[in-house]
Subunit: 123 residues, 2 copies
């Protein structure tokens, strides 16, 4: 590995992978919610809103596989499953938060650029 610069195409693709990974439709919303503490399946489902059962399951499985959340099963009746952020998941929130703040601050500029672009194109 070259310590001099991390600007290689390889690194860039790795970053793109991660970004695609957490940039899907639901992952970030789930992670954000779990940032407030452990939650159960349907609790999470209601909190997010608009997510199907299947997608929540899929999203949680992938997050678990990547080591961002843990899944704890309580063998009770009715069954209960808690999801919680791992250390890795919590650390992820730091750079994501940076991007989040940027996005919120600059969303106006982006929307303005879009309006201008669409306006020129329509005319």
């Amino acid at each position: 590995m070259k310590p001099e610069h991390l600007h290689g195409t390889e690194d860039c693709r790795a970053v793109s992978q991660i970004l695609q990974r957490i940039g899907d439709k639901w992952s970030l919303l789930v992670v954000r919610r779990l940032g407030d503490g452990p939650m159960r399946f349907n609790e999470l489902r209601r909190a997010i809103g608009g997510i199907s059962q299947k997608m929540l399951t899929t999203t949680l499985r992938t997050l678990e596989r990547d080591g961002f959340v843990t899944r704890t099963i309580f063998a009770t009746v009715p069954p209960r499953v808690d999801y919680e952020l791992t250390d890795l998941g919590r650390e992820l929130e730091i750079p994501v938060k940076g991007l989040a703040e940027w996005a919120i601050v600059n969303s106006g500029r982006i929307n303005e650029a879009r309006r201008r672009f669409d306006g020129e194109n329509a005319a």
Copy 2:
């Protein structure tokens, strides 16, 4: 603009939008390349590698629409088109770079988590 805390679901969705926007297959690679300076279409195409003509066009158009890159046409023969990052595009690189460094540093932990998860599942 809102000076309050940014923990609302609305904000979170906005962030998710942005992440999906730049988290697609090619946008980040294009932005990264343009970070080194203006480039022409095919120059960019060769530099990235593996991207089809259509996808590069689409990606560049979207980035232009969102105000991240500019498109400059030189009415010469043969035609020449330069793409260049805007200020907004360059500012975007800052938080993205934070995420990039995190991704590179922690990619090992993610891969390890995946191997462990897949191992348990296979066994």
